[in-house]
Amino acid sequence: MKQRALLGWLLLAPSLLLIGGLVVFPIGYNVWLSLYDKHAFMPVQTFVGLKHYVYFAHDPEFWSSVRYGAIYTGSTLCLQLVLGIGAALLLNEAFVGRGLLRGVVLFPYMIPTIVAVILWKWLLNDSYGLVNHLLVSSHLARAPLAWLGPDYIMWSLIFTSVWQFFPFVVVAYLARLQTIPPELYEAAKVDGAGAWGRFVHVTLPQTRNVLFVIVLLRSIFMFTKFDTVWLMAGEGGVSRYIRTLPVYAYARSFTYLQAGMGAALAVIMFAMLLVISAVYFRLLRDEESTA
């Protein structure tokens, strides 16, 4: 079947060409650049080997970004899962208006990040924002809270990100839910399982694979998320409280103007994701294949 194999490569060629040219080259460029000292204004660079990597190993700002990145990724992932799965379960049931609701629930994912951020910054504004107004007038809070101030900015950011991206989880999970044969649930009910029992013993095992993919993809996307974080508070006074790794990498390249160091941070991020994904695959793939 060599002809078939050749056809396969031919069909794949445009994809590989585009990905190779427009993604692999930039990645390679960053790996190369991370071994050099380069000022962002200058087209020249000097070789320094692994100096940047050694520097970051001892840089308190680096570790602080890792911490913020972990908090951000972990929290948004968990909340997206909880909200997304919950919504999907709900939308799997039959009720009037379900079609409309299925459409509405996807709205947050559709709008550009900049619009979403502007919108939430407007709602959370401590002088004119609706959220504070509602909290105060319903006596849930005594005074307007500074949602965009240092104490709460990370939570506001997490909240905005979860709002923006949980529909992704809904779509993926709901699609799978719809193909679970109802007989499995009937059988479980006959065995005496309640709603929670049915979820744990039927739904979860059946959706294990799609969950695997969702967690993997959402983790990667949230870990490398730049625009939501940056637009929310990147240039603000509170930026230090949400300085995740992608933001720190951007800062090193574009505002500290140390392009080599920024590239090193990008490579470090990439390596972290690679390692974590490999571990994730190793741990969970075995279980998946037996499902």
């Binding site: 101030g149 240092p150 240039e235 603000g236 006074g237 509170v238 103007l257």
Partner: protein, 458 residues
């Protein structure tokens, strides 16, 4: 039924595909000239005045005249916010193709000069009239005996206050930190805060610290050794003052932007905007209560000085034009600038955002035709405060702690690192100990300058 649906699906898809192909082809090939190479040559001009009327004025005056004079050329102007311009500029420099002509912040120009990236423009300066250009901006880009930049327009910044409220309390304009704290205490009540600072890294971490240092006898770095002075007495006294001032600012100020403070001032939520340029007038005219849209209610104030300083310093906003070494059409860029500064073109340019864009020429600042602009006439006191301040040398360009800071090649990096902004927010909002935070910032700054290769101290 499945079969019918499939065929209708296919024909629908085919229709969609065809129409999309058509659109795509039109899009791609409509742009073909840009890909294949055009007859006309393009002069790339980037600047930071994003107001639609300014963009239009430039198009209708300078660009129109230039294109008539140089028929083979088209001028492509791009108006960008400073952050966006910075991002694009870095990408362009990395690719070796910067724009022909651009705005730069004075604190960046030295850095670019030291790396040989910009061209001298002595001829242009002489053509414009060295003696007529205001001293406050003339020598900002004067390196090693040559001029490397010319300011596009000046805009003073200061406090904007509710003068009626202050006069109600019978207090005079504050001249020292102590005066300011007393005034702030008097103006804060349960309906309003006294003052609000912009919660943006650029201002709280660079523009204002430069003002504090300048107004309290300090400076960014030691003049000879370039060692940072972030934990100097000048800075520590300022930090202590600011920690106290924070009480009189809205709780969430660090999460709000510069323009939010102007809106807050106009709608009465605060009594003073810490940072205010003539943009404030636009906000007042739009958002303040109708009976208050005048200088009797809103007035500018110059900055107070600290205990170790003699006179308060405010920032003077004014990006400078620069032509890159790698610019494709340097001669045409200089020609463009000549036309830009011609009175028939420059006057409407300055009038497009009155007072915010004040001319750099002393002759024009006193020119009756210039002063006849209705908004300048109405808000004349704002214009006068700026002139007085310039004469008394109460202004320094944005980010400068001393006039000689124009020669420091690392201010852009210091600003971009956010080291000082982190320190300020931890002290003011986090309530941390000023000395500890200042020491930490000092260490980070020394490390940064060393990494950049500017360490001259031991």
């Amino acid at each position: 039924m499945a079969k019918r649906r499939r065929s209708s699906t296919i024909s629908r898809r085919r229709f969609l595909a065809d129409s999309v192909t058509g659109a795509a082809a039109a899009a791609v090939f409509g742009r073909a000239p840009a890909v294949l190479g055009q007859q006309t040559r393009e002069l790339q001009v980037w600047h930071t005045e994003v107001e639609p009327q300014t963009v239009k004025t430039i198009q209708d005056t300078s660009i129109a005249e230039f294109e008539k004079k140089f028929p083979g050329f088209k001028v492509k102007q791009q108006a960008l916010g400073w952050g966006d311009l910075n991002t694009k500029l870095l990408a362009a420099l990395a690719a070796g193709s910067p724009p022909d002509l651009t705005h730069l912040n004075p604190f960046m120009t030295a850095s670019l000069y030291v790396k040989g990236q910009i061209r001298p423009m002595d001829e242009l300066i002489r053509a414009l009239g060295e003696k007529d250009i205001h001293e406050a901006t003339l020598k900002l880009q004067y390196f090693d005996g040559k001029y490397y930049g010319v300011t596009h327009a000046m805009g003073a910044t200061y406090f904007a206050e509710r003068r009626d409220l202050r006069e109600q309390k019978g207090l005079k304009a504050p001249e020292t930190y102590e005066d300011m704290l007393k005034l702030a205490a008097a103006l804060t009540d349960d309906k309003r805060y006294a003052v609000q600072m912009p919660g943006e890294k650029l201002y709280m971490g660079f523009v204002h610290p430069a003002e504090w240092l300048a107004g309290n006898g300090g400076s960014w770095v030691d003049a000879k050794t370039w060692r940072p002075q972030l934990n100097s007495r000048a800075m520590l006294e300022s930090l202590e003052y600011l920690q106290k001032l924070n009480k009189y600012m809205p709780q969430g100020w660090s999460g709000q932007k510069y323009l939010d403070t102007l809106a807050a001032l106009s709608t009465g939520k605060i009594a003073m905007a810490y940072l205010s340029g003539a943009r404030t007038i636009g906000y007042i005219e739009r958002y303040a209560p109708e009976n208050m849209r005048d200088p009797e209610h809103f007035q500018p104030m110059l900055r107070p000085h600290g205990p170790s300083g003699k006179v308060g310093i405010s920032a003077l906003d004014g990006e400078n034009w620069a032509v890159f070494t790698q610019s494709k059409y340097p001669n045409e860029s200089f020609e463009f600038l000549r036309l830009f500064y011609k009175k028939e073109n420059y006057l409407p340019y300055c009038h497009s955002v009155p007072i915010h864009l004040s001319p750099i020429f002393k002759s024009m600042l006193n020119d009756p035709e210039y002063l006849a602009n209705p908004r300048i006439k109405k808000w004349k006191s704002w214009h006068d405060v700026m002139i007085a301040g310039l004469n008394q040398q109460r202004f320094l360009p944005i980010g400068f702690s001393r006039p000689e800071d124009n020669l420091l090649p690392f201010l852009a990096e210091l600003d971009g690192s956010g080291i000082v902004a982190d320190m300020v927010v931890e002290v003011m909002v986090g309530g941390k100990n000023p000395k500890a935070e200042a020491d930490r910032a000092q260490k980070r700054a020394e490390e940064l300058l060393t990494q950049l290769g500017h360490k001259r101290w031991s």
